[in-house]
């Protein structure tokens, strides 16, 4: 029992505490981490501090500019924008996170197996990947989303990942092919280690940095895809979803054309901010994985 606790503490230290130290050392990393943390909190505990029910319509308070009562103002229907933003973030971030997880997992699995096994298995998997690569992602997404019309977050996430995994799979395969020829792999084979051990313990740790950083990009891609789908009206209406908010603010409140209603574009600003945060964070993560890039 004590041993398990020790192993856990060691693992936590290695994967959380140490990298955090490196990330927070640079300005870029600190800013990126702060932003991402902010949104993570927004999506998890944010709903506890929301004062208004986002679906309450109150036309008498429609389109009010930011005030003490409504920090971000109200929209066309009199709903508090800040409340909608916070509740909405749950959906957007959760679905996108799951989508990124699916994309990355499938891509990693396909890429490593394909690259390591070679031969027939590789040819088949590469063929499948190539076919998926030629499919235009977003149009397909639109077609499927309009047919399925689901609000189940996991299903949505799966739809978002349908084509996203292919380019990443290809890149991971290329990395695996290179790693396969290295001396320590040859030795591992010679020492009689089974393929599964070589794949998980020898190859995977070397590709992990690449996977994580690409995972972050998959995350942002999924956010755009999701918000885009909702903005185009292709998914069941959820008033607080960022995409829906954007749709309404552009179509009903003329948000793009008039600066006075800028707060209506809050979701878009959030997305941009989150993107910046993630880019900074991934840049800092590169330092974590590659000690040679570190400044200190």
């Amino acid at each position: 029992m004590v041993q398990v606790k020790e192993v856990l503490i060691r693992a936590l230290r290695k994967s959380v505490y140490d990298p955090l130290k490196i990330i927070l050392r640079s300005k870029r990393g600190a800013v990126g981490f702060a932003i991402v943390l902010f949104f993570a909190l927004m999506a998890t505990v944010g709903s506890l501090i929301v004062r208004y029910d986002p679906s309450t319509v109150n036309l008498s308070e429609a389109l009010q500019p930011p005030s003490l009562k409504h920090p971000l103002g109200t929209d066309w229907f009199g709903r508090d924008i800040l409340a909608m933003l916070i509740i909405g973030s749950q959906d957007v971030l959760f679905v996108s996170f799951v989508a990124a997880l699916i994309t990355t997992s499938v891509a990693t699995f396909m890429g490593i197996i394909s690259g390591y096994m070679g031969g027939k298995a590789d040819s088949i998997l590469v063929g499948v990947t190539d076919i998926v690569l030629t499919i235009p992602g977003f149009p397909l997404l639109i077609v499927i989303a309009s047919i399925l019309r689901t609000s189940n977050p996991v299903l949505l996430a799966a739809i978002l990942s349908i084509t996203a995994w292919a380019p990443l799979s290809r890149a991971i395969r290329a990395q695996t092919l290179t790693l396969r020829e290295r001396g320590f792999i040859e030795m591992a084979k010679c020492l009689g280690m089974p393929s599964i051990h070589i794949i998980t313990n020898e190859i995977l740790p070397n590709i992990m940095p690449y996977i994580i950083i690409n995972g972050i990009f998959a995350f942002t891609g999924a956010i755009y895809a999701q918000v885009g789908l909702f903005m185009l009206g292709l998914a069941p209406y959820k008033s607080q979803n960022w995409g829906v908010m954007l749709n309404l603010s552009v179509n009903y409140a003329g948000a793009v054309f008039s600066i006075k209603q800028a707060s209506l574009l809050a979701p878009a600003i959030c997305i941009i901010l989150l993107q910046i945060g993630l880019v900074f964070l991934s840049g800092s993560l590169e330092e974590v994985f590659n000690p040679r890039l570190r400044s200190g």
Binding site: R182, G183, F184, M187, C190, L191, N201, E202, P205, N206
Partner: protein, 334 residues
């Protein structure tokens, strides 16, 4: 090899007419050509022997080394371990062979996983082959191994990443890794070529000591005759040319009195620091300094295009390795 009184084979590792061909595509039209890296090689290594396999780049020695370890599949011919063809045995027997035949790769910087600590380079295979009862015991064995290759204190090293080691230290860890499963046969592929000259003797001596202590048979592949001479001083040396083994014999004797024309040329080509001796040396008049390409098949003896003593037969018939008073030579007129 005696097994319950019955002699299976006098060799630990043996090859019989072992051949390995590689297909390559040449030029724009991707014409396919076959390169015979190893050409019907038949020879054997006895238990506990220290052998140096010498040859110039591209002669097929690395390929032969990997064929001996079962890392490459032969195009034809056999590779035998304790008298059994390794490609025609049960899976369990092959696993047993796997454990007993290890490689020390050429590049120490590449032979360790940069993303893992040294403990991961030693412990997994100890556990896999059930050489310890648990992780703790495996770790003790690993620490012992590090101590044996001269990395002291081992507790300090075992938690390090390879990036924290020097080239010489890395090569020691690689050697520890190779012997961690107590193999009977180890192929060291240019194991010292990437190390500084000052480290070479140390590493070679360590390999010797391990060979004696663990009764391990070593095959050192190298292009450096000096390294071969030092390592195999109490063993044998084998000379390879374009996929053929042309001479095998006791190291000192072979170097002092080479019988095959290629061996003579090779030895004569070693630069000697003393100008007086250099001037007085006999120059072997090779017909050409160009090594023929393996893309075009060469009839008869592969060396006949350059050999100053070539006769008509040499062009037509390929000489087999013959035993001439304690030396194996593949030549019609040694």
């Amino acid at each position: 090899m005696k097994d319950g009184g019955e002699i299976i084979s006098e060799y630990v590792v043996e090859t019989r007419k072992l051949t390995k061909e590689f297909e390559v595509s040449i030029g724009m039209l991707k014409a396919r050509a076959k390169i015979r890296a190893v050409d019907e090689v038949s020879f054997g290594i006895k238990e506990g022997e220290q052998i140096a396999l010498v040859g110039e780049s591209g002669c097929g020695k690395s390929t032969l080394g990997r064929l001996l370890l079962g890392l490459l599949k032969p195009s034809s011919g056999q590779v035998l371990y304790k008298g059994r063809d390794i490609w025609h045995i049960s899976r369990k027997e092959f696993e047993e062979f796997r454990r007993n035949a290890q490689i020390i790769p050429q590049n120490p910087y590449d032979a360790l996983n940069p993303a893992k600590k040294l403990s991961a380079a030693l412990i997994p295979q100890i556990l896999r082959h059930k050489m310890a009862r648990g992780r703790d015991e495996a770790r003790k064995i690993a620490l012992d191994l590090l101590e044996r290759v001269g990395l002291s204190p081992p507790e300090d090293f075992i938690e390090r990443y390879p990036s924290r080691l020097s080239g010489g230290q890395m090569q020691r860890v690689v050697i520890a890794r190779a012997i961690s499963v107590k193999p009977q046969f180890v192929v060291a592929d240019e194991a010292v070529s990437m190390l500084d000259a000052s480290l070479r003797v140390e590493i070679l001596d360590m390999l010797h000591k391990i060979g004696e202590e663990l009764r391990t048979t070593f095959l050192l592949i190298t292009h450096d005759l000096g390294v071969a001479r030092y390592f195999a001083r109490n063993g044998k040396i084998a000379i390879m040319y374009l996929g053929d083994i042309v001479e095998v014999g006791e190291t000192e004797e072979t170097i002092r009195n080479p019988l095959h024309p290629y061996t003579k040329a090779l030895l004569a080509a070693i630069p000697v620091p003393d100008p007086k001796i250099a001037r007085e040396r006999k120059i072997i008049p090779l017909k050409s300094i160009d090594v023929p390409s393996l893309l075009k098949p060469i009839s008869g003896c592969k060396f006949h295009t350059r050999c100053p003593y070539a006769t008509g037969d040499c062009e037509k018939i390929k000489p087999e390795l013959r035993l001439i008073s304690n030396r194996w030579v593949a030549c019609h007129s040694p």
